[in-house]
């Protein structure tokens, strides 16, 4: 065989190996981490204190988040991070608890020009039953993102021109005056339905994000009890100057919202935003099932297979592109 082709084949094999390794690590963006988490249905108000018993005792889901390396600005630190999460709903509200390690509590000081807040984001598909491109959606299949940052901001956002659609982004990005669809847009004030409470201690952020369930606007999923939705996470470490695409992200996971038990009437107890954090604690019925665990396990095997196939396709395309561009000539 010609030496050139042997080298090409070798590079191909290496690419496939690398891509599949990445796929198993969950880095390939098109794959999903399908481990499901069930958000319990609780009676009464949801505690807003992250240290409350409900949150500390709740069964946690775990997500591995890897450095965003697909597009500018990439994350400089390639170490993965982890987030533990728990979610509940009570008929009127949905709340999600996030807990992650961060060595420094980064809250920009007054007048600081070079400080960035620690931040976290939770992403949902805009359209029920869809699983859009995990890196901030696609124009025809957008995502809803709630972004919390340590400076106290909570924003309800919609994204849909995805990092993956780089060609299109480049094309629009450099255009002038007539501004294109943004990768991410803040929803109007009436759709800013999320509130947050956060605490930092022992090198960990604990953040609760709460919103009323039900539809609001056309870009925010309703998150009604009994429904199922895909969910993904992102984290930023302010001390590492992380902002924008310089972040870690997870793949899609499944969030099941438990329906109220039996025919029990849905309590219409509301979490008021003025409620003092941690004053009300509710007992959660812990009914973790074996089937869920199994489902989660089979889910990750499926994810790995899907990931491997996707990686294979990507590797072949990359190889083909490289070959066409003549990059392999002379190797």
């Amino acid at each position: 065989m010609d030496k050139r082709y042997r080298m090409a084949a070798l590079i191909g094999v290496l690419l496939i190996f690398a891509a599949s390794t990445l796929a198993v690590m969950g880095i390939v963006p098109v794959t999903a981490q399908t481990n499901a988490y069930t958000a319990k249905y609780v009676q009464g108000p949801i505690p807003l204190d992250p240290t409350a018993g409900l949150w500390q005792q709740a069964e946690k889901g775990n997500a591995v988040l890897v450095a965003q390396l697909l597009t500018y600005p990439q994350r400089l630190d390639t170490q993965p991070r982890q987030v533990s999460y728990a979610a509940v709903s009570n008929g009127t509200h949905f709340a999600i608890y996030l807990e992650w390690s961060d060595e420094t509590e980064d809250v920009p000081q007054l007048g600081a020009l070079d400080q960035f807040p620690d931040a976290a984001a939770v992403q949902f598909p805009v359209m029920a039953g869809e699983q859009p491109y995990v890196c901030m959606g696609m124009p025809d299949n957008p995502v809803n993102i709630v972004m919390w940052s340590a400076d106290g901001k909570v924003e309800n956002l919609v994204a849909g021109s995805g990092y993956g659609t780089k060609g299109q982004q480049e094309q629009q990005a450099r255009g002038l005056h007539k501004t294109p669809t943004s990768p991410i847009v803040k929803l109007p004030p009436e759709e800013q339905i999320w509130t947050a409470s956060a605490s930092y201690s022992d090198g960990k952020w604990r953040v609760i994000l709460v919103r009323p369930t039900g539809g609001v606007g056309s870009f925010t999923p309703s998150l009604d009890p009994g429904s199922e939705v895909s969910i993904a996470f992102a984290l930023w470490d302010g001390s590492k100057y992380e902002r924008a695409g310089s972040k870690v992200t997870s793949g899609w996971m499944t969030l099941k919202l438990e329906a109220p038990a039996g025919a029990a009437a849905v309590e219409t107890v509301t979490v008021t935003e003025t409620q003092a954090a941690g004053t009300v604690t509710q007992t959660v019925t812990q009914t973790a099932t074996v089937t869920e665990t199994i489902a989660a396990a089979t889910g990750s095997v499926k994810a790995a297979i899907v990931g491997f196939l996707a990686a294979l396709v990507i590797a072949i395309i990359m190889l083909a592109l490289l070959y066409r561009k003549g990059a392999l000539k002379g190797v």
Partner: protein, 470 residues
């Protein structure tokens, strides 16, 4: 494709360092919370460190582009640099507690106003400011910290206080190849297609500050109050109504000149990529002759309105940068193709001539004299031509030629024709000299700003092209 840009020239010999431009700009645009430290226009003393502190040190600040194997890359990406400058790099903005002068109880001592941190409200010691090295106060410390200082000979360094100083007013350069624009992942920065003004869309900006790092001139300022970045807007609301910018109009020394230049947009990529010593020459080649019928035709085809084309024909910027090659860009080696130009200072020419023992030097003596001017050519070349000393000499020789021409007429009593030999040697005509005299000496008609027209001009095509990396 032909494009129009509203551009500026500053004639450094005339700048008296009064800071009126900075103060008027501040009062019009940045006299508010979050921008206390920001001077969209600032005036630096050279040699000196400037504002922010040693901003030209790109090893520290990571601004501009680097040419890497035929590809332009943002230096901040090559350096993997993410942190924007600190407040301390600019300066801690301060005011004085003047109220004390009125409120103080009767006592033995005179009441005094003390400096107060404008952000925290606390008393502070002022240790650094945006024009700290003004007039070379403490110059033997600050001048040596000037990043351009390293190009100078040791002996000049030793006697520098006897040698030279001048002022350098700076605004956003409204570059043709703006690093800030390309650094923004939000696409919040755009270059207006009608006049090339580079703006940050405040609705889109999310305060990532990548543009702040990317701008090699450090002319994008993060507003800590709004959480968004801001920059010089070239007073576009004034431009649209045919008025020059506030800094231009308020300039006491009549240093600033403004006008339209037409340029070939399709060659930006190529021009930003040439070797350092060719950068000025190639940037000049981008600027088109507004009298050339073909240029006019193409400009019209590109949707440039006639009042812009007419303005381009009267543009001091066209004459000074392109036709006469008097003006030079600031640090072209950053490869952003800055569109604010500087006529380098002779500063003062008389002394230099005196050293030859004759004030009325023969013109043929001027050539060697250029290199004995107070301001070392090498220093100016470090600032304005990426080290190409010939570009600076070319400019200074013309400045001397016009002085010589008028001296021959006024002092020696020669006729225009007789005197014009000194002009011809520098490729200038009597008409050129008279126009130069009107602009540079009398300071008349220093700007021609066309009013904004409702004309659809296409999107900047080069902005879409690949082949440059962030």
């Amino acid at each position: 494709m032909v494009r129009a840009q509203i551009s500026m020239v500053m004639v450094l010999d005339k700048c008296i360092g009064c800071h009126t431009c900075s103060i008027t700009c501040k009062h019009v645009w940045t006299n508010r919370e979050g921008q206390e430290y920001a001077w969209w226009n600032n005036v630096e003393t050279r040699p000196g460190v400037g504002y922010p502190h040693r901003w030209e040190d790109q090893e520290k600040y990571g601004g501009g582009w680097v040419a890497d194997n035929g590809k332009l890359k943002l230096r901040m990406e090559v350096m993997k640099k993410r942190d924007p400058p600190k407040m301390e790099d600019y300066y801690i903005p301060f005011d004085y507690d003047y109220d004390k002068l009125f409120d103080e109880n009767v006592q033995q001592e005179q009441p005094s106003a003390n400096p107060v941190n404008m952000i925290t409200g606390e008393r502070m010691d002022v240790k650094w400011g945006p024009n700290w090295d003004d007039d070379l106060a403490g110059g033997d410390i600050y001048a040596r910290m000037d990043p351009n200082w390293k190009v100078l000979e040791k002996e000049i360094t030793l006697n520098f206080k006897d040698v030279f100083m001048f002022y350098l007013p700076r605004i956003c350069n409204h570059c043709l190849n703006p690093a800030c624009l390309y650094a923004c992942p939000r696409k919040s920065i755009y270059k207006r297609e009608e006049d090339g003004v580079v703006l940050i869309d405040q609705n889109r900006c999310r305060g990532y500050r990548l543009c702040v790092t990317a701008c090699p001139y450090k002319k994008v300022y993060y507003n800590w109050k709004t959480g968004k970045s801001e920059k010089c807007i070239l007073c576009y609301p004034r431009l649209e109504t045919g008025q020059a910018t506030v800094c231009t109009v308020s300039c006491v020394g009549k240093v600033r000149y403004m006008g339209v230049v037409l340029y070939d947009e399709t060659r930006i990529e190529e021009v930003a990529n040439v070797p350092d010593d060719k950068l000025v020459e190639f940037q000049r080649s981008l600027i088109l002759d507004p009298f050339d019928p073909q240029v006019i035709r193409e400009a019209r085809e590109a949707g440039i309105p006639d009042n812009y084309i007419k303005a381009a024909q009267k543009s001091p910027v066209y004459y000074m940068f392109k036709k006469w090659e008097l003006a030079l860009p600031l640090h072209p080696e950053y490869r952003t193709l800055p569109m604010v130009f500087y006529v380098p200072p002779l500063n003062p020419v008389i002394t230099a001539l005196d050293r030859r023992g004759k004030y009325m030097a023969e013109y043929k003596n001027i050539l060697p004299t250029i290199d004995e001017l107070r301001v070392p050519i090498r220093y100016l070349a470090s600032l304005f031509s990426a080290g190409n000393e010939e570009e600076v000499r070319k400019s200074l020789k013309k400045l001397l030629a016009i002085r010589e021409y008028f001296r021959l007429i006024e002092v020696e009593g020669l006729s225009k024709m007789e005197a014009s030999k000194v002009l011809a040697d520098q490729g200038l005509s009597i008409e050129d000299a008279e126009l130069m005299y009107k602009w540079l000496a009398l300071g008349r008609e220093r700007w021609t700003i066309p009013t904004a027209q409702k004309v659809k001009v296409g999107r900047m095509s080069h902005m879409k092209k690949k082949g440059r990396r962030r």
